[in-house]
């Protein structure tokens, strides 16, 4: 079986339509994000919005395809690297555990889609998460996926959990809470392995953190994820601390988001 499986060849049935990054970013109406579009000055996602339930449905579908890709990415990490030469066995065991979590999240997301009235494949799929999981350096891969993208997942799950709470929807609230707990563990795995594998390699650490920033920026369209009250997705400081982020690192993400918002508004 080949190593580093290309994103274009991921197995999907006819229900799923892939939207490339070029198509997504080339949409003159703004890229799709947080169940809406960057150009529409997205408000914080709450049930009180006229399009709140539909935005939640679209976002939940984005989470669902993200779970599939996270499963595929963690699975590839188990296979793509050799124990001893590339990674310790314990890292592969963590990735195997993550596969189990992501598979469960896929099943939960399918049930939530049914609950919310969404057909599987109803919205276009973007493959950026899996593309970040194709980095040939395991440290960069774990930093990009587990810290940047799973970090974003923490913020998204917490926002969806609050949405469920405000709507009085116990199914959504509890499902998001359970998945959120797993995501904190995944991000913590990324933080721990980043530190352990780069303990004596400052250059590799810097490269990994730079890669994380690139991925974070790619997912920070117009600063939709931030700490301001009206940010569509709320940056979740407490859970990020639990996942091994330092205050400085969280401040940096918040600043990046704020700058992106100012830039978008001008």
């Amino acid at each position: 079986m080949r190593k580093i499986f290309p994103a274009e060849e991921l197995a999907r049935d006819a229900r799923f339509i892939r939207q490339t990054n070029e198509q997504r970013l080339g949409d003159p109406r703004g890229a799709r994000v947080a169940g809406g579009n960057t150009n529409e000055r997205l408000a914080k996602l709450t049930p009180e919005l006229a399009n709140g339930p539909d935005r939640a449905r679209a976002l939940m579908h984005g989470i669902f395809v993200g779970e599939i890709q996270a499963l595929e990415g963690a699975g590839r990490t188990c296979w793509d690297f050799e124990v001893g030469e590339d990674v310790p066995l314990a890292l592969k065991l963590d990735m195997a555990r993550q596969c189990w979590d992501e598979a469960r999240h896929c099943e939960i997301s399918v049930s939530l889609a049914e609950h919310m009235g969404t057909e599987l494949g109803e919205f276009a799929e973007n493959g950026l998460l899996y593309e970040a999981a194709c980095n040939p350096d395991p440290v960069l891969r774990l930093t990009g996926v587990n810290r940047a993208l799973e970090g974003l997942a923490i913020d998204v799950f917490n926002t969806m959990k609050e949405f469920g709470n405000l709507a009085g929807d116990p199914v959504l609230e509890f499902c998001e809470d359970w998945m959120l707990a797993d995501e904190v563990t995944h991000v913590k795995m990324g933080s721990d392995w980043l530190r352990r594998l780069t303990e004596n390699d400052k250059e590799r650490l810097d490269k990994a953190l730079e890669f994380q920033k690139v991925v974070d920026r790619l997912f920070s369209f117009n600063g939709f994820r931030g700490e301001d009250d009206d940010s569509p997705i709320q940056l979740t400081r407490r859970f990020r601390e639990l996942a091994g982020f330092s205050d400085d690192e969280i401040d940096e993400i918040a600043d990046m988001s704020r700058e992106a918002r100012v830039e978008a508004a001008s």
């Binding site: 339509i17 109406r29 799709r32 009235g117 969404t118 109803e122 276009a124 009085g168 116990p170």
Partner: protein, 180 residues
């Protein structure tokens, strides 16, 4: 067939064809028995899904480009979504003309709960005519406005299955299941 005029006549941001849109709108109008001409204005810059009746007589409709979009293929026209959007607007017009909706507040005075309840009654009828559907999506929206309770689900069922409710009946059903 119903005369439909679509504005704009050509699109720059989305890959829509005004003639195709006119055909789909005309087909829905015919199925609902609307014979008069329809003006449809589309804001192609907006990917949102808002829609409204800007004039009841003559019939003039306004929609975001996103309300006619194929969500699987962004920027592409979606006929199923268009049938749902236009069908709901035309049924609202027919309801208001029926005499059963004389006490209905103006559209911009309706709250989210009232809109959700009326939409359920519209889409239920559209589904039986083979025009629209997405029952579970409408149930989810209705629950968001009325509560995730058995009472709200029973109210939804009544709104969905009824063929000719009046505004007073829709209001009674909606109010009867709201969480205070």
């Amino acid at each position: 067939m119903t005369q439909v005029s679509v504005t704009p006549e050509s699109f720059e941001m989305v890959f829509y064809d005004a003639a195709v849109i006119g055909e789909v709108v005309g087909e829905v109008a015919e199925r609902l028995g609307v014979e008069e001409s329809i003006k449809l204005e589309i804001d192609e810059e907006s990917p949102l899904g808002r829609s409204k009746v800007t004039s009841y007589d003559p019939i003039e409709l306004w929609v975001d480009g996103g309300a006619l979009e194929n969500t699987k293929r962004p920027r592409q026209f979606g006929s199923a979504r268009t049938r749902d959007t236009i069908g709901r607007l035309l049924l609202r017009i027919l309801d208001r003309r029926s005499g059963r909706f004389d006490e209905t507040p103006a559209d911009d005075e309706l709250n989210l709960m009232q809109f959700a309840a009326w939409d359920v009654h519209c889409v239920g009828r559209l589904e039986r005519l083979g025009i629209g559907g997405q029952r579970q999506r409408r149930l989810y929206q209705f629950r968001n406005r009325h509560g995730f309770t058995d009472l709200a689900d029973a109210a939804f069922q009544q709104l969905w299955e009824s063929s000719e409710l009046s505004w007073t009946e829709i209001e009674r059903i909606s109010e009867g299941c709201r969480i205070s």
